[in-house]
């Protein structure tokens, strides 16, 4: 059996990759993928803790998070389509009408 710290390290790594992706990428769809990566990092650590503690609630939460993430993907893609219809781009640098 693989010990708990390995799972947590991978989960922390995934989370940091997600944060870096959100901060550096310019394409809206890739930014959304990075956000999903953050959520799934949290899922991994939930499942790891749940198995380690012998507590079923962590796995229960993961189901809620998966449903919520699906909803987020739906809403996010709808918003991307609406912005693409208006501006014909999904590059975040060009979405800059509102500032200061």
């Amino acid at each position: 059996m693989i010990p708990l710290p390995y799972y947590l390290l991978i989960s922390a790594f995934m989370f940091i990759m997600g944060v870096i992706g959100v901060l550096t990428r310019k394409n809206a769809i890739i930014v959304f993928m990075s956000i999903e990566l953050m959520l799934n990092a949290a899922n991994l650590s939930f499942v790891a803790f749940s198995s380690f503690l012998g507590n079923i609630y962590g796995q229960l939460f993961v189901f809620f998070v998966m449903a919520v993430a699906a909803a987020e993907a739906a809403v996010g893609l709808a918003i991307i389509i609406s912005i693409f219809r208006n501006k014909a781009t999904v590059n975040l640098d060009e979405i800059n009408l509102l500032k200061w």
Partner: protein, 498 residues
């Protein structure tokens, strides 16, 4: 087996049940009669009125003060009086937003989708109600996301407007990151405590001493999700953009209701997880595992200073009100940082007043936007003489937002400062006072443009009867509570002191 009896548990959630029911009614009604728009507004108001009745009735219901395993959906949902207060605030705000929609010209192009608009507002309302009484991280997370997703769509509801879609885009990116961070914080908290229930965490903290850095980090990560909802400073970047781009009715809703839900969630998180006991003088005895006091004090100072200083050079009125709402979040965080019942009373008083004056200011902005098609401050030139009544109302709301007597805003600020001085947090009180003085400049600037600068157009604007009635229903209480505020204070005391 009491906890498994669904109908027993429903007693804890009647208002939420009513809202869910009316959400379904709205969707089905819109399917059957796609053209009937006004009826949707009336159905919404009916649902809100019913839910308000049940919420107020909960005020007199005795709920077990010592939460056992058998209460409220296995303790996930605990309606206490402070939660009921915030629910009342949110329901009133929703009713006003539904009314404002009738007067909004910019939403006219979306009237063929009015059914979705009202259904989404009800979805947001449902999420906020659950967020307020959540006593469990699962419920907190799911309801926070319900609020967020409804508001993302509502912010981008004017599909053909570039600004509206851009606002919605920025909102969902910031929101997604904030909730992802919050979720990771919850997972760390779960790993350390093995539970999602606030009361179990509190019980655990009483028994053992968790003094790890990880605990601190996970607490701050959880605060991120809530801090983004109340637009506290390091997480405030979405606020001005979304407030400017979203339809003004939704801006008003976000600035009052989702902020109220965020503060209620924060109060419950702090009070149920980290407070050991309440001392006889009203101060909370904190379980010494998390630096709530320091965190809240610094965030309050940052939030109000950044909000007020940035508001100084805003020319768009919606953007200015966005920064002003950040500043008000700072004052409320200052009241929270006292960590006592007095601070909570100050928060309750401040929020009751904030509801009236902020909704009022946004309503006048909507009406002016209908006539001039702009929120730019230069287009407000000479409006004071063109529309004397609405101009005077906006004057009252802005003076009240500054916190000057004889308006209700003064009472809110007064109780805030009293709570701060009573807790010997003099420096924070002085900073809050200086911030109020700064805020005077940008609020009064609007009035200067309205009354002292001549506009190009001199033709008078007559407001419709309905809009006068709504403006009066907000302006009169603002003046009344400024002079006769005893009932407000008494009510706040009954709410906080159980």
């Amino acid at each position: 087996m009491n906890s498994l009896n669904f109908f027993n548990n429903l007693g804890y959630a009647w208002p939420e049940t009513i809202i869910t029911l009316f959400l379904a009614i709205l969707v089905i009604y819109n399917l059957v009669y796609p053209q009937a728009r006004r009826a949707l507004g009336i159905i919404s108001l009916l649902g809100i009125a019913l839910a308000l009745g049940f919420t107020i009735q909960q005020m007199w219901t005795q709920f077990p003060t010592d939460p056992s395993w058998l209460s409220g959906f296995t303790r996930m949902l605990i309606p206490d009086k402070i939660g009921i207060f915030f629910k009342v605030i949110i329901l009133i705000a929703t009713a006003y937003v539904v009314l404002f929609t009738e007067f909004s010209e910019e939403l006219r192009g979306t009237f063929d989708r009015a059914g979705e608009y009202y259904a989404l507002i009800f979805g947001m309302l449902l999420g906020m109600m659950f967020m307020i009484s959540a006593n469990n991280f699962i419920l907190l997370y799911v309801s926070l996301e319900l609020v967020s997703y409804s508001s993302y769509v509502l912010a981008g509801f004017m599909k053909t407007s570039e600004r509206s879609s851009e606002a919605s885009m920025k909102y969902i990116i910031y929101g997604g990151v904030a909730s992802g961070i919050m979720l990771f914080g919850i997972s760390l908290m779960f790993g350390m405590t093995g539970t999602f229930y606030y009361f179990d965490i509190s019980r655990l903290l009483m028994m053992i001493n968790i003094n790890s850095v990880l605990f601190l980090i996970s607490g701050i990560m959880i605060f991120t999700g809530i801090g983004y909802k109340i637009s506290s400073v390091p997480f405030h970047f979405w606020t001005p953009d979304v407030y400017e781009g979203a339809p003004t009715t939704i801006t008003a809703y976000l600035s009052v209701a989702s902020k109220a839900a965020g503060f209620a969630a924060l109060i419950h998180l702090v009070r149920n997880c980290f407070v050991g006991a309440v001392a006889t003088d009203g101060y909370w005895v904190m379980l010494s595992h998390f630096y709530w006091k320091e965190l809240l004090v610094y965030l309050a100072i940052l939030t109000m200073t950044v909000g007020n200083l940035t508001a100084l050079w805003q020319d768009n009125l919606k953007r200015m009100l966005a920064y002003s709402s950040i500043a008000h979040a700072g004052y409320l965080l200052a009241a929270m940082s006292v960590l006592s019942n007095q601070g909570l009373i100050a928060m309750v008083v401040y929020f009751s007043v904030y509801l009236l004056m902020n909704l009022g200011a946004f309503f006048i902005v909507i009406l002016i936007q209908n006539k001039t098609g702009s929120e730019n401050i230069d287009d407000y030139n000479g409006l004071g003489t063109r529309m004397p009544f609405l101009g005077a109302c906006l004057g009252i709301f802005l003076v009240s937002l500054t916190g000057l007597p004889p308006t209700a805003g003064f009472i809110g600020k007064l109780y805030l400062f009293l709570a701060l001085v009573d807790a010997k947090m003099i420096i924070l009180a002085i900073i809050a006072l200086l911030n109020s003085v700064i805020s005077l400049y940008y609020y009064i600037r609007v009035l200067r443009h309205m009354y002292l600068t001549k506009g190009n157009n001199e033709s008078p604007i007559t407001p419709s009867f309905g809009s006068v009635l709504i403006a009066l229903s907000l302006a009169v209480p603002v003046l009344l509570f400024g002079i006769y505020f005893t009932p407000l204070i008494e009510w706040a005391k009954t709410v906080v002191l159980r």
